[in-house]
Structures are given as structure tokens and as C-alpha cells.
């Protein structure tokens, strides 16, 4: 119960701070816009090519913007050593992770929504009819990215080369999220609009494994 109440309080703080400053969302939105526009002008794809290669580009753009967004998650707690204050105040340190993970998932989903709109326009793909199914794929993918990214953000925030360490650690580790997410999205872009549960199963398994690992070992990541 204390875990749940602490998580709720910390999640409110994360959302309040971001929606007041808009730092993460603005930066990520601009980045996504630039990447999608550059992809579009560089490859100039036809509608068929968009459906074939679009999902890969979409998820790559999303992965890059995610590495940008997840970086400050724990780094900002170093500024005034607020992480120590949180560790002294919460009952279970997992609450800190859970709140950041939920906040990061919300931020990632918001940027994905923007990404989808821009992608639909520049790649001439209609995403509205498949939006509910896409939302499921994007949610599972975002959860995997934010779980891994939040954990690695805690690790990299204590390292010397912290600014470059997160993308270096995160991107290879997220290959098991990238491939199923891109494949599941590609299946939705095809005429049958089928939900590929084989790929979604991999995503669910990844999310469960990393969430459990974070729950079991997260406390050690916060120690000095």
C-alpha cells in the first residue's frame, strides 16, 4: 500500500515538473520532427515503400528520441542530490523507479502520438483506422523502452561519461524491443491490419522480465 501511495505521490511530482517546464516534451518533439522530415526527404518513399520500411524508420526515430528523453530521468536528481532525499523518504526504493517508469511511459506515448501524426503526413500512411491496435503495440514497446531506459538512466547518472553512456548501453539492449515492435507495426500497415501476437508476446515477455529485474535489483542501482 505504501509502495502504491509513494509511487502516486512521486508520479504526480514527475508530471507536475514536466508539464510546468515542458523541457523533455519540447526537445523530443523537435527532434522527432527533424528526424521524420529528414527520413522523408532522404528516401522519398512511395506509399508501398512507406508501408514496408516505414515501421522500421518510425521505431528507429522513436528509439533515438527515447534515448534523449530518458537521459535526464535520474540525471536531474543529481543536481541537488534529491535522490538521497527520496531514498530517505520512501518506504521501498522501487517506488522511485515505478514513478519514473510510469512518467517516462506517459512522456514516450505523448511523443509517439506526435510522431504518428507527422509520420502519417510525410509518409502518406493512414494510421487512423488502425489506431487502437497501434496504441497497444506502442504501449508495449514504450513500456519496454522506459523500463530498460529508466534502469540504465540510474546507472549512467553515477558514471563519469554519463552524457554518452545511456545511448551506448540502451540502444543495443533494446534490439529485442525494436524488432518485435517494428514487425508488429508492419503487420498492422498491411491490408489485413492483423495483430501479430507472436511479436507482441516477445514484447510482453521482455516487459515482464525487465520489470521483475528492476523490482528485485533496482535498490542496488540507487546505491552510491
Amino acid at each position: 500500500m505504501k509502495l502504491l501511495s509513494d509511487t502516486t505521490v512521486l508520479l504526480q511530482k514527475e508530471l507536475q515538473a514536466e508539464f510546468r517546464s515542458h523541457e523533455l516534451l519540447t526537445t523530443a518533439s523537435i527532434f522527432i520532427l527533424i528526424v521524420i522530415v529528414l527520413f522523408s526527404f532522404t528516401f522519398d518513399p512511395t506509399s508501398a515503400e512507406s508501408k514496408q520500411f516505414g515501421p522500421g524508420l518510425l521505431w528507429l526515430a522513436f528509439l533515438f528520441s527515447a534515448s534523449l528523453m530518458l537521459q535526464p530521468s535520474f540525471l536531474k536528481e543529481r543536481t541537488n542530490d534529491t535522490l538521497s532525499a527520496l531514498r530517505l523518504a520512501v518506504g521501498d526504493p522501487f517506488a522511485i523507479f515505478l514513478a519514473k517508469l510510469c512518467a517516462n511511459t506517459v512522456f514516450l506515448l505523448i511523443t509517439q502520438l506526435l510522431l504518428l501524426l507527422v509520420f502519417g503526413v510525410f509518409f502518406n500512411v493512414s494510421v487512423l483506422p488502425i489506431f487502437p491496435k497501434l496504441a497497444l503495440v506502442f504501449f508495449l514497446g514504450s513500456l519496454g523502452i522506459s523500463t530498460t531506459g529508466t534502469a540504465l538512466s540510474a546507472v549512467s547518472s553515477q558514471a563519469r561519461m554519463r552524457e554518452v553512456l545511456l545511448p551506448i548501453l540502451l540502444l543495443p539492449l533494446l534490439v529485442p524491443v525494436l524488432i518485435p515492435s517494428a514487425e508488429a507495426t508492419r503487420a498492422l500497415f498491411e491490408p489485413e491490419h492483423a495483430l501479430r501476437w507472436d511479436w507482441l508476446g516477445i514484447l510482453i515477455a521482455f516487459d515482464v522480465v525487465f520489470l521483475t529485474a528492476l523490482w528485485l535489483f533496482g535498490e542496488y542501482l540507487l546505491e552510491e
Binding site: K2, S5, D6, V9, L10, K13, Q16, A17, R20, S21, T79, N80, D81, T82, S84, A85, L86, R87, L88, A89, V90, E223, E224
Partner: protein
């Protein structure tokens, strides 16, 4: 004068060692802080004061040895208030939001009233709705002290608490610490040299290169401990 009956807690440092790589920050520290004692911890920069305080909060794990709390149930940690060099405050939140956030996490009863009371004590009521990033260093320090007092701690650990405070704020801090000491709160504060704050101490401890070199409860020798580490 109220007493913290049933909340008294002491600290027992048992053979504490802390290494950062090859550097020894603390060397076999073995001493107790009795419940209700007010300890002035002194020593040069890098002598291990901050490390010792962080180990007492359990934010830092010692390389060897252990910290236990007397007066607390086995396995339980008493309420600890900690003021560190870093302010441990969110700059993007207001003063009131900071206090309410930590009050909720610490499950402080009547949290709004408690936050208002501490803001008043810190002379920050008029700035309660201002973002912390707009505060001066002294105001932030006052708010950091208020945050540490939220749950009426049994143990208060202060790392150079007078840093950045003007004369008036420093006097307020001295009064607050005196009141807490008289109520039976166990206090360990790192200080540099003799000051109004260090004169509140009932015991003076000096560290040098991570080792305890002086420890006295004799007020007459405090000045020597602060200056050189010589007890007599």
C-alpha cells in the same frame, strides 16, 4: 519543555571503514552517540565528516563495520532528519510543494499544517508559492532545514548547516537546534571551528584523515578540539 519520550534514539558506529578505491575515507571508527546527545563533528576538509554522516543516514554503505540505532526496535530505523551540502530540494517546485511532497512520502500527520508551521519557522511563508530556483542560497538552506524537520526526527544529522545563512537566519538556526537538543533529539552536526552553533554541543569529536583523533564531553576542552584536536 517537552521531552521526546519513547522516541529517543542513539547511534552506534561499530568499526566503520569506508574506502573509495584505494583511498580510506574512514578508518575503524568505533564510537556511540547516546540518545539526546548533541555532537559537534569537526575536522579539516576531506577528513571524513560528510561520509560519516551519510553512513549514519544509511545512504552510503560502509566498506566494513555497521551502524545500528539504540532505542529503536531491532531492524527498524528511527526517524532521521538530514541536511547535506547539496540542498536535496526540487528547484522546479515551490517551497510549499517541496515540503508537501516529502511530508506525503514520510506520512507526516496534518501535513499542510506542519508544512505551514515549518515555513513560518524558516521565515519563508511569504515565499511559499515561489519556485525554489528563485531563492537565494540562504533561503534554500532554511528550506532544506525545514524539510529535515518535517517528521520531528529522533536523530538530526546536519552537514555544515550554517552554510550560506545570514546573521539573522543563523541565529534562528541556533535557536531551533537548541530547542531540539533540549527536547531530547540526538544531534550530530559537522562544523568548522567554534561558533554559536558548536557551543550548543555537549560533545566534540574531531576526525583527521578518516580517523577519530579527539573525543570529549568536557566543554572546557572544546576549543582545543576545534582548533587542533588536542583534548588537554
Amino acid at each position: 519543555m517537552s521531552q521526546r519520550v519513547g522516541q529517543l534514539a542513539g547511534i552506534k558506529f561499530s568499526k566503520i571503514e569506508k574506502q573509495f578505491g584505494k583511498l580510506y575515507a574512514l578508518r575503524r571508527l568505533d564510537f556511540d552517540v547516546a540518545p539526546g546527545e548533541c555532537v559537534a563533528l569537526t575536522g579539516r576538509n576531506g577528513s571524513g565528516k560528510t561520509t560519516l554522516l551519510r553512513i549514519a543516514t544509511r545512504l552510503t554503505r560502509p566498506t566494513r563495520g555497521e551502524v545500528t540505532f539504540t532505542g529503536a526496535a531491532p531492524g527498524e530505523t528511527p526517524a532521521i532528519g538530514y541536511v547535506s551540502h547539496a540542498l536535496m530540494l526540487y528547484e522546479e517546485l515551490t517551497a510549499a510543494e517541496n515540503l508537501l511532497l516529502f511530508a506525503k512520502l514520510l506520512e507526516v500527520p496534518n501535513l499542510a499544517a506542519r508544512a505551514a508551521q515549518l515555513l513560518e519557522a524558516a521565515n519563508l511563508t511569504s515565499r511559499a508559492s515561489s519556485l525554489v530556483r528563485t531563492f537565494s542560497r540562504g533561503m534554500k538552506q532554511r528550506l532544506a532545514i525545514a524539510r529535515a524537520l518535517l517528521q520531528e526526527p529522533s536523530i538530526l544529522l546536519l552537514d555544515e548547516p550554517a552554510t550560506g545563512l545570514d546573521t539573522e537566519s543563523a541565529a534562528r538556526l541556533v535557536n531551533t537546534i537548541r530547542q531540539l537538543r533540549d527536547e531530547g533529539c540526538t544531534i550530530v552536526m559537522s562544523v568548522h571551528g567554534e561558533s554559536e552553533l558548536s557551543r550548543l554541543a555537549t560533545r566534540a569529536v574531531r576526525l583527521d584523515a578518516g580517523a577519530l583523533i579527539a573525543d570529549t564531553r568536557d566543554g572546557a576542552t572544546f576549543q582545543n578540539v576545534f582548533a587542533t584536536g588536542e583534548v588537554s
